[in-house]
């Protein structure tokens, strides 16, 4: 039987390889764009950090999309589904490697931004630390992490439900039923995101829901836990679907 660690480290390595490629493109685009701005509009080299931040935000979105697509492909690929390991471990290895790969990209992004202008980077960091209490910053980081896990789990849920439909619904009229299922999935996901948005707004705008500061802090500190718990529940559903309903994707021909 395949070991969870062996599978996880293999998946991490494969996804990190993708990250390196994407990060290379991001660095290249940033440098070319910044150099052009310097030559054309005499922007100082110290100002390149701003272009890195703009391109970096876009790159983060692209990396997220590509890594999530790779994550989903694993779940119905015969190469991975035939590995002698339980579906729970396959799912865990897949999601853990996705998280590690994404964090790795963000780390590379931070190092790159720092190298472009260390003084400006540290000044910005100091300013953030001075303006926002450390506890709130930590909760923000925890919340972003929890939301990332939740979003990946939700995308997987939509993918797996769609995959079940492909296998079990009648071939005739399947396009229509799949459209209905996608619309339903979007409604459910939108509902969950609505709840998340409300939760985030509670943390960062301190609305008057809480009667005392104590109550506010407890609820704020716990909110990433709620989101993570929701992600775990959805993950449990995903594993159930993988184990009992989701078959490999069959190549035509």
């Amino acid at each position: 039987m395949t070991k969870l660690m062996a599978l996880t480290s293999n998946m991490v390595r494969n996804k990190v390889k993708t990250i390196h490629g994407l990060f290379g493109i991001y660095v290249l685009v940033t440098l070319v764009l910044s150099a052009y701005q310097t030559l054309r509009y005499h922007v100082k080299i110290g100002g390149w950090i701003e272009y890195a931040e703009v391109v970096g935000a876009f790159a983060t979105f692209i990396v997220f999309l590509i890594i999530v697509i790779r994550t989903e492909k694993i779940l119905d690929s015969s190469t991975y589904r035939l590995i002698p390991i339980t579906e729970g471990k396959l799912y865990t290895a897949n999601i853990v490697s996705t998280i590690v790969a994404f964090l790795y990209f963000e780390l590379l992004n931070l190092i790159f931004t720092f190298l472009l202008n260390p003084v400006s980077f540290i000044r910005g960091l100091n300013s953030t630390l001075n303006d926002t209490p450390l506890s709130i910053l930590l909760i923000m980081v925890a919340m972003i992490f929890a939301m990332f896990v939740l979003i990946v789990a939700l995308v997987t849920l939509m993918h797996l439900v769609n995959s079940v439909g492909t296998t079990f619904l009648p071939a005739i009229g399947q396009k229509i039923t799949r459209v209905v299922m996608v619309v339903l999935s979007i409604v459910v996901v939108s509902y969950v995101f609505g709840g998340l948005q409300y939760l985030v707004s509670l943390i960062f705008t301190r609305t008057q829901v809480f009667n005392s500061d104590n109550g506010f802090w407890v609820a704020t500190a716990l909110s990433p836990v709620y989101v993570l718990a929701l992600a775990l529940v959805i993950s449990a559903v995903n594993i159930y679907l993988l184990r009992n309903w989701v078959e490999i994707k069959v190549k035509a021909g």
């Binding site: 492909k73 690929s77 035939l82 619904l169 009648p170 071939a171 078959e247």
Partner: protein
């Protein structure tokens, strides 16, 4: 001889279309068994169900008394396990991947099999012709040390020289105790390889016979035996 594979009362549907119904099959250890049937008879589906890539709701499948699907997967090497690989990866990297993931994968055997089949380890997957790709799939499948090998149409679309090379590899690399289930609808391609044949028709096993019995007692070759069940229906 004890049974390596036992399938009992297996039924399977896909898209509300029934493919197998009350399918029963027992295969002893150490044999090369031909799974014969026309296109769409369910040969690939049977293999996918045994390998664990398709899920069944009625019946049982057991390989060496396996209790769980993961355990069954550890005893089966299926040609489809190599069908979703990164196409721009060199064969050496793919070998490393299997070596890391499968405890029963033998990298040395894999390299020897590739060499025997005329493939170079530094070739990329997307550089292989259809025939060479089939050889690579056979090399990956046989490089695992398992109880049951499932070869789904291993000679599909390849020339006679390549076919001979693959057959030679299958014969020389098969461990004595291992069983090989090989499917094909071009029966002549695999006839000389087989210890016994299983014919699938109408969602069931309709015949199962030892190759020697077919040749010596029935006085037929395997192709004629198969055609006696399919006759003119099989237009392939």
């Amino acid at each position: 001889m004890s049974n390596l594979l036992e399938i009992k009362n297996l039924s399977y549907s896909r898209n509300l279309h029934s493919i197998l119904e009350n399918f029963n099959l027992e295969i002893p250890q150490g044999q090369i068994v031909g799974l014969l049937g026309a296109n769409g008879a369910g040969k690939t589906t049977v293999m996918r169900l045994i390998a664990g890539s398709f899920l069944y709701r009625r019946g049982t499948i057991s390989v060496q008394n396996s209790q769980t699907v993961a355990e069954r997967k550890s005893k089966v090497s299926f040609t489809e396990q190599a069908s979703h690989l990164e196409m721009n990866a060199p064969l050496s990297k793919i070998g490393d991947f299997y070596n890391e993931i499968y405890e029963d994968f033998n990298l040395t055997n894999f390299k020897q099999l590739l060499a025997e089949l005329g493939l170079k380890i530094d070739q990329k997957l997307n550089q292989l012709s259809k025939g060479n790709y089939r050889k690579f799939v056979i090399a990956v499948t046989l490089a695992r040390n398992v109880d049951l090998y499932l070869l789904d149409e291993p000679f599909d679309g390849i020339d006679s020289m390549s076919r001979k090379k693959i057959i030679a590899s299958i014969i020389s690399w098969k461990p004595d105790s291992a069983t090989i289930l090989v499917s094909d609808h071009h029966v002549a391609d695999i006839a000389n390889l087989l210890d016994s044949v299983v014919v699938i028709k109408n969602k069931k096993v309709i015949a199962k016979e030892a190759a020697n019995t077919i040749r010596e007692e029935l006085g037929q070759d395997i192709e004629t035996y198969y055609e006696s069940y399919y006759g003119e229906e099989n237009d392939d």
